[in-house]
């Protein structure tokens, strides 16, 4: 397998897909997580279980859904349950190994804001809000975050705690009685980050091909920590990039309105 040309977005999606295995049960969000999960399913993790919050369990869509409730998800699912059951038996019941979250704002401890920019009661920008995120963040075994880097997104201090990551860091989750692991992986368009075992601050462990430490720091609102042994993310293989692009092409055709 030879390395292929790729965009930073593609690298982000493919790096996320590599973190998944056939034994995972994933709570999938729309966008990069959905693409990553389906690339994993179509390459190295054929038996991965994908769950969308619309109630579709064990789904295997041929094209990426635009919403979390496209008919394709139901057509290909092992079963489709009601939304209350999804959140009670499957999410809160502790059945999900990995939950994916995106972020409008993200801090170094994996706390996420998708609710408002500015004051909650008088926002400068009203974002969509949390949806499933507040409980995904605490009920899934662990959380993977995908986010494109920018100083607007990776910030020193988020405006609103839509979902809890590691709070102030350290044992903050345990202090709140939360027993799940929280954010264990942050995959951006530039790098792979993992939380420090003690402080829980996200630390860059791998730079994507061609990316420098400066690129990462320039697009991050806090002073970035880098691991001592910094790795380079393997470039996408031809299979990975081909699978992703085929998926996106099928998706674009399907969503264009025929």
């Amino acid at each position: 397998m030879t390395a292929a040309a790729f965009t930073p977005d593609e690298m982000m999606t493919i790096a996320a897909s590599r973190a998944l295995s056939s034994s995972d049960v994933c709570f999938v969000g729309i966008g990069a997580p959905s693409a990553a999960c389906n690339v994993a399913r179509l390459t190295h993790a054929p038996d991965i279980t994908l769950i969308y919050e619309s109630g579709t369990i064990g789904t295997a869509p041929d094209v990426l859904p635009l919403s979390i409730g496209d008919g394709e998800l139901c057509d290909t699912a092992v079963t489709t349950v009601s939304v209350p059951e999804m959140f009670r038996y499957w999410l809160q019941g502790g059945r999900i190994t990995i939950g994916f979250l995106g972020a409008a704002q993200l801090d170094r401890f994996g706390n996420i804001n998708t609710t408002v920019i500015g004051d909650y009661h008088n926002p400068s920008t009203r974002l969509p809000g949390g949806g499933g995120a507040p409980e995904i963040a605490t009920s899934c075994g662990e959380i993977y975050i995908t986010c494109k880097q920018s100083k607007r997104a990776l910030v020193e201090k988020i405006d609103f705690f839509t979902s809890f990551g590691h709070g102030e860091g350290g044992d903050h989750r345990e202090r709140l009685g939360i027993t799940t692991r929280g954010p264990t992986l942050l995959i951006t368009d530039l790098a792979i980050w993992k939380p420090d075992p003690v402080t829980k601050e996200f630390t860059v462990v791998s730079l994507h091909p061609g990316v420098t430490r400066e690129n990462v720091q320039e697009t991050c609102g806090w002073t970035v920590r880098f691991a001592d042994s910094l790795e380079e993310t393997p470039a996408p293989t031809a299979l990975e990039i081909g699978t992703l692009r085929d998926l996106k092409a099928r998706t674009a055709a399907a969503h264009s309105g025929k």
Partner: protein, 284 residues
């Protein structure tokens, strides 16, 4: 006992100014035709309940019908923000609705509790989440067996719920299938329930454990083929994803929004929905 009415009559008889109303459908089966009829009839001061407000509430908010919003995700799924809702919240145009914001888990549990006749829902939720600080309706109980503190939210009991479904039989039993979302809970939690369906059939002829709402749980049924568009009806027509993408442009501007509403809602009828899904109908 369900009565079969025209959509105009079903809306007129069951929705009133000032009502707490849910138009539900989780991506699938969103009752757009019923919402458009409510817009045409010009109701005011509504408390709009909906997990995922999306286009249908963006339109009602933009038309100034909302006094309060109860929701858990106010986005155009996979597309972006809701621009009419933003304009209302950020700029007070055309008015400034009150907001009660929850998580999906809490809203789903709150509908479930409403259907179950309980005053509250209990969940392991909102831990470390900022909503618990800004929404006074997020409280807690202590488990008398383990001492664990669990989140509590009030159950949802709308004055009236509107849902769309695949079909009804002649007696008025209604079948919902596919992504059933919280259709059953929205109906059972409400004082009155109005269902639009694609068609009336002699026999629902479905699986014994399918989601069927008995006729005596429903107030009124109106036949509106295509009534979910641009949402979809599993087994009848696909989601019109292009229309969701297009909405982002329409709603971006007050004038384009107003013009679109005039042409496509105020001067339209329920019968127009059938034409809108013509190309989206799949071979059954």
């Amino acid at each position: 006992m369900a009565t079969f009415l025209s959509l105009a009559d079903a809306v007129r008889e069951n929705l009133h100014d000032g009502d707490v109303v849910a138009f539900e459908g989780f991506t699938h089966l969103i009752p757009h035709a019923a919402a458009h009829e409510a817009i045409r009839q010009g109701f005011r001061d509504l408390t709009l309940v909906r997990m995922t407000p999306d286009l249908v509430y963006d339109q009602m908010i933009g038309m100034g019908m909302a006094k309060k919003l109860i929701f858990s995700y106010a986005g155009n799924p996979g597309v972006g923000l809701l621009r009419r809702l933003r304009d209302a919240v950020e700029n007070g145009w055309p008015n400034s609705p009150e907001i009660e914001e929850h998580s999906h888990a809490a809203m789903a549990n709150a509908y479930e509790a409403g259907a179950a006749g309980l005053p509250l829902a209990v969940l392991r939720g909102y831990r470390g989440a900022g909503l618990a600080e800004v929404n006074p309706n997020i409280r807690s109980i202590i488990c008398p067996f383990t001492g664990e503190k669990l989140a509590a939210v009030p159950s949802i009991r709308p004055d009236v719920s509107f849902v769309h479904a695949q079909k009804a039989d002649r007696k008025g039993n209604v079948l919902v299938e596919g992504i059933i979302g919280i259709q059953k809970e929205a109906v059972l939690a409400a004082k009155r329930a109005v269902v639009t369906v694609e068609e009336i059939v002699d026999d629902l002829s479905t699986h014994t454990n399918a989601c069927v709402l008995p006729d005596w749980t429903i107030t009124a049924i109106a036949v509106v083929p295509g009534g979910a568009h641009p949402s979809y009806t599993h087994g009848y027509y696909d989601r019109d994803n292009a229309k969701y993408i297009e909405w982002d442009r329409i709603a971006a501007d007050r004038d384009s929004f107003t013009a679109w509403m005039k042409e496509n809602v105020l001067e339209a009828t329920p019968d127009d929905f059938n034409d809108r899904v013509a190309d989206l109908r799949r071979a059954r």
